[in-house]
Symmetry: D2
Subunit: 337 residues, 4 copies
Amino acid sequence: MIIVMRKGAINGELDRVVSLIEDLGAEANVDYGVEHTIVGIRSGKHNLRPEQFKFLPGVEDVIRILKPYKLASRTFHPRDTVVQLGMAEFGNGRLEIIAGPCSVENREQIVETAKSVKKSGAGVLRGGAFKPRSSPYSFQGLGKEGLELLAEAREETGLPVVTEVLSIANIELIAEYADMFQIGARNMQNYDLLKEVSGVGKPVFIKRGMAAKIEDLLMSAEYLLDGGCEQVILCERGIRTFEDATRNTLDITAVPVLKKLSHLPVVVDPSHAAGHTDYVKSLALAGIAAGADGLMIEVHPTPESAMSDGQQSLTFDQFENLMKICRSVADAVGKDM
Amino acid sequence: MIIVMRKGAINGELDRVVSLIEDLGAEANVDYGVEHTIVGIRSGKHNLRPEQFKFLPGVEDVIRILKPYKLASRTFHPRDTVVQLGMAEFGNGRLEIIAGPCSVENREQIVETAKSVKKSGAGVLRGGAFKPRSSPYSFQGLGKEGLELLAEAREETGLPVVTEVLSIANIELIAEYADMFQIGARNMQNYDLLKEVSGVGKPVFIKRGMAAKIEDLLMSAEYLLDGGCEQVILCERGIRTFEDATRNTLDITAVPVLKKLSHLPVVVDPSHAAGHTDYVKSLALAGIAAGADGLMIEVHPTPESAMSDGQQSLTFDQFENLMKICRSVADAVGKDM
Amino acid sequence: MIIVMRKGAINGELDRVVSLIEDLGAEANVDYGVEHTIVGIRSGKHNLRPEQFKFLPGVEDVIRILKPYKLASRTFHPRDTVVQLGMAEFGNGRLEIIAGPCSVENREQIVETAKSVKKSGAGVLRGGAFKPRSSPYSFQGLGKEGLELLAEAREETGLPVVTEVLSIANIELIAEYADMFQIGARNMQNYDLLKEVSGVGKPVFIKRGMAAKIEDLLMSAEYLLDGGCEQVILCERGIRTFEDATRNTLDITAVPVLKKLSHLPVVVDPSHAAGHTDYVKSLALAGIAAGADGLMIEVHPTPESAMSDGQQSLTFDQFENLMKICRSVADAVGKDM
Amino acid sequence: MIIVMRKGAINGELDRVVSLIEDLGAEANVDYGVEHTIVGIRSGKHNLRPEQFKFLPGVEDVIRILKPYKLASRTFHPRDTVVQLGMAEFGNGRLEIIAGPCSVENREQIVETAKSVKKSGAGVLRGGAFKPRSSPYSFQGLGKEGLELLAEAREETGLPVVTEVLSIANIELIAEYADMFQIGARNMQNYDLLKEVSGVGKPVFIKRGMAAKIEDLLMSAEYLLDGGCEQVILCERGIRTFEDATRNTLDITAVPVLKKLSHLPVVVDPSHAAGHTDYVKSLALAGIAAGADGLMIEVHPTPESAMSDGQQSLTFDQFENLMKICRSVADAVGKDM
C-alpha cells in the first residue's frame, strides 16, 4: 500500500501516518518527492486496510498494490486449474460445451434435449429447476421435480448436470441430484450462499454479475476457494451498459483478462449476453476465438413455446449447425473439442 | 403489447401472429401502416409475454405497453404509502433520518451513537450485524451479539432499529430484534429472500442494486408487496457507472422518477453513494431538495477506527452540523423534519 | 509516478527500469517490499509518461501520482475563479441562472423569453443558433440569423448571451454576437475547437461529455486554460448510464467533486439531464443544494411547439415558480440569488 | 409512431392528440384497450417528432416504430455495400486488415512499418498526422509533414492510406494525401465535420464514440450518406463502461447487430478496445469470429519508444504471428484473407 500526502501536508501529519503504520506492525518508507511526499508500507500480513489511512489529515490518496484476492490469483497458483465433470475437462486446453434449456419443463423436453445436444457435441447438460425471475408473476421453475427430471436425463445420456442454486435452503436437495452447482449473476455477491456452497464438495460454476467488475468476480471466486471448493469455473455472460440493442453487453475482453489474472477455467455464455437467437452464433464463436475454455448455450426443442428465455434459445438444428462451425474455430485456435 | 411486423412480412406471417393472440384469449387489432403493419393486443389478463411473439417469422419488434409491476405502481395505488416506525413516518410529507454505524462493533459504540444521533434529529437507528463483504478476509459482523446490542441501544433511546438480512436462515433471529429489515443492494434480486422476508409482517427497507434499473427496483418491491408486505421503503444509494472519482454514482433523478411511478416512500443514502465523508453533505442536501422522504446516513464515534466504511462515516459533530442545514433545506422545500 | 515490479521480477529487469528513469533525468527510489519491489520516480518535470515503463519486462503496473491537469487544479490555483458576465458572477458565492430556449426560432420567441426569464431572476440568456442534432433531418438552427436575434434580445433586456459553437469556421462570427461561448457535450473533446476558442478572449462554458469522466472534463478545461482563456465555467449535464427512465443520469456528486478538485465555477443543467419537464424542478433544486454556482435551464413560450427539446422546456409560469423555490433553497445553503 | 394515453385520460385529451396528428397530415388509428388507449400514427413522411406529443395532457408515452435512420438501414438498402480501397474490398466477404502506427513519427518509422505490415498481410496503412490527445501537453502529431510521410509510404508499398481528420480546416489538406478519411471516436458526433467530409468524394471510416449507442453510430453514418458519401465503413473500438481492467469494453455484439441493421461494412479495432498488447490477439480473433469485415491494428517498430499508444501497439513479429492465426480463423468462418 502506498500513501500519497497532500502537497503542503505538514510534518505532524506525516508523523501521524508513519506512527500508525508502525503501530500496526508494518514498516514505513518515506520518499520526499518534489510535489508530493509518498509513504510506502511494507508488511508481510494482509491486515492493512486503505480506510485506516484515507481519512487521516494530510493524506491525499491511498493506493493498493496487492490484488485483494489471493487463492484465485495466478500469481499464487500459476498452474491452470482443471475442472473435471464426466468426460468434460474445463481448463485442459479443450473446448467444452454445456447446453440445455433455460428451465426444465417436463420429462420429454429435458430428455429429448439432452440426447440431442449430446449427439451434437455437448459434454454437460444444463437446466433450471429453481428460477430467479424478475417478476413474481413469472414461472418460477419446477423445483424438486425439475431436479428429478435432470437426473433422469443424465441416466439416459450419461451427461453430467449443472443447475442453479438460489438459496441455502436448497443446497442439500440440489446436491443430491446435480454434478455441479451454478451461482447465477444475481447471486454472485450473495456471500452467505457462496460460503455454504463451497463446503459441499462439488464443483461450482459462477456467473459474473451484471455490475460486477472482473475483480469482483474473482473476489467471489475467492469466497468459494477459501471455503474449500477448488473446482470453480468462471462465466462471462454480459454486463449492463448503456447499449440497449442487446440484452447485455458481452465483455469479450474479460476472457483473456481472466485467463491472465487467474488459473480458473473461463466459460462464455452467448445466450444470456445476446438475448436473441440471431446473435448467439457470433458470440459463441467470438468466445472461442478469444480463448474461452467452454461455452454455455441455451437449447430448446421448441423455443417459441419455452416457459422462459425462448427468444435466445437455439433449436436442435441450429445447435447442431453451430457445433460444426465451433469445431472449425476451435481447431483454428488450437483447441480440441 | 404491440407487435411490429417487418417491412415486407407476408400475409401468412401476419395471420400466424393474429392466430396466436386469439389462441391466448386476447384480441388483435391490426393497423396496416405505410411501412410497417402493427398489431395491437387487447387483453384483460397479464399472462402474455413478449417472448411468445418475438421469435415468430415476420416479427420485427414487440413493445410492452403496460408496466410489468402493478402493486408498486401509482397507477393502481394512487395514494402515498406511509411507513410508520416509532415516531418516524416515511412518506407523510416529512423528512425522516436513519443514522448509525455501518457495523455494530461493541456496546459502547452503538449505544453512544444511538444517543448522539437521536439528539441531533435521527428517528431510526441503523447498524449492521451481518455484513456482506466483498472479501472473505474482511470483518463479517458480530451476528447475534450485534442484534442484542442494537436492542440495547433501542432500549436506551427509544429509537426503532433497522438492520440488514443476508439469508433466509437469519430472518427469524433478526425478526426478534429489528423493527425493520434491510435488503442490501447485493441482494436486491435475491428473490427467495424477498419472498421469505415479505411474510414476516415487518416493514422492509430495500436498496437499489448497483446495476438495477428503476424498473428492476420496482419489480423487487413487487415481490415484497405480492408476498404480503405493504410497508416497503425504496432506497437510492448510487449505481455503478464509468465514473470512478466516487464509489458510486448517486442517481438523484431516481427520486422524482420513483415518486411519480410509485406510491412507496423514497430514501436517499448519501454515504454509500459518495463513499467519502467529504461528499456526504452535498448528497444529503441534494436528496432532500430532490424530494426524498428520508435519508440514511452512516455515523461513527471514531470513523478512523471503524471496522467497515470508516471513510464515509460522519463523526457526531459532523452529523450534528449536517442536521442543522438539512432542517433549513427541508424547510425550503416544504418538508417538516 | 510509481512502478510496481512483478513478484519474481529479476534484478536485470529492475536495473533496466532504474536506468531508464535516470536516462530521462529523474531520480529512482527503490523500495524492496515483501511481495513486490516498488520504484518511486522523483522528477521536477512533467515529461514522463506511464507508457514508457508499462511495457518493460518485469513491470506489473505503473501508477500515476500527479493529476494530469495543472492549470485547472485547485492545488496549483487555490482561490476560486470568478467568471463575470454582465451582472452575473459565477463562482462568487452566488447562485446565477442561465435561461432561454434550446434553439432561437424567431424574434418574438427569443425576445419574449429573454424578458420573461429576466423578470423571474435569470442573469444570462441562452439560445442555440447552430444546433448539433443527431439526425441530419432535424432542424439545424437559424445560424447567423439566430445570432442576430440573440443580440436583439440582449439589447432589449441587457442580458448577456451564451450560445453554442460547433466548428472553428463559426468562431469569428459567433464572437461578434455572443458574450460567452458554449462548448456542447458532443464537442467536449474536440480539441482543435477548444484551442481556437480559447484564444478569442471571451469566457467559455464547457459541458461535460456523456462518456466523460470528471477528470476528462478537467483535461478539456486544461486545454482552454492553456490556450489563454481563464474564464471557464464547467457544466454537469448528465452522463450516459444503463438507466433509461431518463434521458441522462445527472451525476450530482460531480458538483462537490469538481469544487474540491478545481477552482472553476460549476453549473448544473437539469433540463438536459432530466430530458423531461416533470423532473427539472427536482434536479435544479438538487443542484443548488449540492453546491452549484449556477443553473442552466431551458425555457420556451410554448414548449409543445418548440423546434427542439420541447419535452424538457419549462413554460414562463413554470420557470417563475421554480425561481421562487430556488431562492429558498439557495438561501438555506447560504447562497445569494 | 404510437401514442399511449394515460390510464384515465379523458376524452378531450384523446381528441386533442388525434387533432394534432391530423393537422400534421397523418392518420390516427385509435385502439381502445382495457387499461390504456393507444393511438397509432400512419404517415408516409418522416416529419413527425415524438416531442410534439410527449407533453400533451393525457399522454403517458410515445413509442417510435421506425428507425430514425434510413440510408444506413438494411431495410432500405438490402444489399451489402462494398468499400474498395486499393486491393482491399471491405464488405465483400473478405477479411481486410488495416495496420500501422498510432502516430506517424518519422520517415523511417512509417515506411518500415508499411513494408512490414504489407508483407504480413495488411491491405491498408493507417497513421495519425493530427492527433486528438486528452492532454494539451501530449504530442499532437506531425501535421502536414505526417501526411507527406504517409504518401511516401504509399509510394513505396502501394498500400492505400487512412488518416484521421480532426477539423474542417484540414479536410482539403488531408484529401490531397489520404485515400480514406478517419473520423475518430471523439468526433463521431461532430456533425459539421461529418457534413463537410461527406462531400469530398472519398471513403470515410467512422469510429463509434465511447458513449454512442449502435443507433447513434448509424445516425452519424446517416449524416455521411445523406451528404453524398456512399463509401462508409463502421468501426467498433470499445465503449466506456464501469469495467476498468481494460481501456474500453469491446462491444463484440455490435458486429452482428450492425451487420443485421445496416448494409455498411464493419471493422473491429482491437488495439484501442484492449489498450494493452496482451489482449490484442484475443480481440482480433473474436472480431473475425463475430463476423467483422476487417480489423484495424496498431503496429510500431519499437512500441516502447512510441510517441503515443505504445502500450497497445504490436511489434512487427507479433503482427506477423497474429496474421497467421487470423488467416486460420477467417478460414474457419468462411472468409478469405
